[in-house]
């Protein structure tokens, strides 16, 4: 006989209370991370060689006069002690002010405010599509014998290995240049979203499908599946009611990471498909050394990422009571 290890005691406090407590702790952590990201970026940016005032005036090529430089320093508060600049920057951050772009001379928050929508639409569509592809692929490859399994694994491996920029090129060559079905340049229309979305979604789907397939296989071997079968559950019922839920759990918790991955990918994809968005803005800002924009994008992406991880963690917690219980028993 083996001793039972699951002597679960009744929860000491109500579930609701624990949920709120958890959320508060998470939010506190999120605010800390955001502050740390802001601080890190602020000081990292100071490492950039060269005079920020010169950058404002168009880089070292400007050869601006001393007075102009001084003027700019004063305008941008660059003449103050570093600590004061830092506090100013934090203070401005609290009001949502990200400073003024060096190159474009417009408020960064306005600029990014206009750009973030496009990126988020792209990233979230890609996330959903990747999820869908991964789901179908993993269900298909685990349910159709050895050939399907081998083909499925091959597809997963290959798609996970596809670099975005290459995939984009190939997709444009096939669907725009050769077949002429889809516009190669992203527009506001849904058709314009197809290729960028696919470019981002396919490699991610490869990753997700790998994870999902493994859990799906594990799950299908689990005793509770035999138990369900013993109740007379059909194969489809097994998948729908039991296996898929389990397979999607790791994928849910990966979604925070996935969003970061997608935003990274957006840098390339937005450039190739000429979609306005954070990625393209960031890339241009990097080539122009437009520090406020770079800082702004980094902060914004960090914010999105943090929100996403809190949301996915919460979703995982909701979907998987084991996580909640694990907290109760250290």
């Amino acid at each position: 006989m083996t001793p039972g290890s699951a002597g679960s005691r009744p929860a000491q406090r109500s579930r609701g209370f624990r949920g709120i407590r958890w959320l508060l702790v998470r939010l506190g952590g999120a605010i800390f991370v955001l502050w740390a990201v802001a601080t890190l970026t602020f000081f990292a940016i100071r490492l950039i060689p060269g005079d920020p005032a010169e950058a404002v005036l168009g880089g070292p090529g400007s050869q601006a006069s001393q007075e102009t430089l001084d003027q700019v320093r004063q305008d941008y508060g660059l003449d103050l002690p570093l600590a004061v600049q830092y506090l100013n920057a934090l203070g401005r951050l609290l009001t949502g002010d990200l400073g003024t772009s060096y190159a474009l001379k417009v408020p960064v928050s306005d600029l990014l405010g206009a750009q973030i929508g496009g990126t988020l639409v792209l990233a979230f569509t890609a996330l959903c599509v990747a999820w869908l592809i991964a789901l179908l692929l993993s269900v298909w490859s685990t349910g159709g014998g050895r050939v399907a399994a081998a083909v499925g694994q091959g597809i997963e491996l290959t798609s996970a290995a596809l670099p975005h920029f290459w995939l984009a090129t190939v997709l444009i060559a096939i669907f725009s240049s050769t077949l002429g079905w889809l516009p190669p340049v992203s527009t506001a229309t849904p058709a314009g979203l197809v290729l960028p979305t696919l470019t981002l979604a396919i490699p991610l789907a490869g990753f997700l499908a790998q994870v999902m397939r493994e859990t799906l296989l594990d799950t299908l071997d689990a005793p509770f599946i035999v138990s369900a079968r013993a109740r007379g559950e059909s194969e489809r019922g097994i998948r729908l009611r039991h296996a898929l839920r389990h397979a999607s759990l790791p994928a849910i918790s990966l979604s925070g990471w996935a969003l970061g991955y997608l935003i990274s990918g957006a840098v390339v994809v937005e450039t190739i498909f000429a979609r306005p968005g954070l990625g393209r803005t960031l890339l241009q800002a990097v080539t122009l050394r437009d520090v406020p924009i770079v800082t702004g994008v980094v902060l914004l992406v960090a914010l999105v990422y943090i929100i996403m991880t809190v949301v996915t963690d919460a979703a995982s917690r909701l979907a998987d009571p084991r996580l909640r219980n694990a907290e109760a028993q250290p």
Binding site: L157, T158, A161, L282, V294, A302
Partner: protein, 285 residues
């Protein structure tokens, strides 16, 4: 298994049966071997100078003479792809080494440094995670300027938090594992436990992870090259070649397809190898 006759059973229980490598594993090994040869003795695989310019021979499609065709300056794409192996792999491998080393340092500090250090490293990792992949790399490039070295460091840095998190978890798991505990109960000292039990068990999976990571590092590094922020033409780096070739996608598909294929195949091969290593090392557990 019946243990009524233990003494006879024990003899047959001992030998470990090694699984025969699968088709994909054989492919992966072969490809990695090919990469190794291309890195160490590229001359063995191609006799043409990858940088020999012959403007008159530009844009020739694949032929027996030029297996992968020629590029816009008449250089042989095949020999450039071969020559690019060392650059691309060097970037990929160095980036992984940087990432793993940093990850190891962070992970070990967190895993052994007591609660305060663990807590702070943990937060650090969390913060680094908030700069997803390429973003951290781009930030590094803004600071240090573009170029292959920066790109390598950038990719390395951006993978470090991932490794750190895994190593930390691994160390925590091993530290509280039954075998470390039983070594303590037996009266072994901490140094011996660290060197004989904890590190060997933590490093093996790390090597596997690193194998898996190389493929992704190659992809990210080539993405940077593609964006013009990493290796630059005429250096024969896959990403840079791809970037240069994309201009001529309508005229000369081979300029894009072959370097891209190398990146994809490299990633697939390292992934397969990494996975089979995982399986094999996990089999021991």
């Amino acid at each position: 298994m019946s243990e009524l006759d233990l003494r006879t059973a024990a003899a047959s229980a001992a030998p470990v049966r090694r699984a025969r490598p699968s088709v994909s594993e054989i492919f992966a090994m072969a490809f990695v071997l090919f990469l190794a040869v291309a890195t160490v003795v590229p001359g063995l695989l191609s006799s043409i100078d990858p940088n020999a310019i012959a403007a008159r021979d530009a844009f020739q499609g694949p032929s027996p003479e030029h297996w992968f065709g020629t590029d816009e300056s008449g250089r042989d794409v095949y020999s450039r792809v071969i020559a690019g192996t060392s650059t691309s792999l060097l970037i990929g491998v160095s980036a992984t080494v940087i990432g793993v080393t940093l990850g190891l340092i962070l992970g070990v500090i967190a895993g052994f440094g007591g609660r305060i250090l663990d807590f702070s490293v943990n937060r650090t990792i969390e913060v680094l995670f908030a700069f997803p992949g390429l973003l951290l790399a781009l930030l590094v490039i803004v600071i240090a300027g573009p170029g292959p070295v920066t790109a390598t460091i950038a990719v390395g840095l951006s993978t470090a938090p991932g490794y750190a998190r895994i190593i930390r978890g691994q160390l925590a798991g091993i530290r509280s594992s039954g075998y470390v505990e039983s070594a303590r109960v037996l009266g072994h000292g901490p140094r011996r436990i660290l060197t004989r039990h904890i590190l060997p068990n933590a490093l093996a999976p790390l090597m596997v992870l690193a194998t898996l990571g190389i493929g992704q590092a190659v992809v990210w590094a080539s993405a940077l090259s593609y964006l013009g922020l990493g290796a630059q033409p005429p250096s024969a780096e896959w990403g840079a070649m791809l970037s240069a070739g994309r201009t001529y996608i309508g005229t000369a598909w081979w300029l894009t397809v072959f370097p891209g294929l190398m990146i994809v195949l490299t990633t697939i091969a390292t992934t397969i190898l990494g996975r089979s290593l995982t399986r094999r090392t996990a089999g021991r557990r």
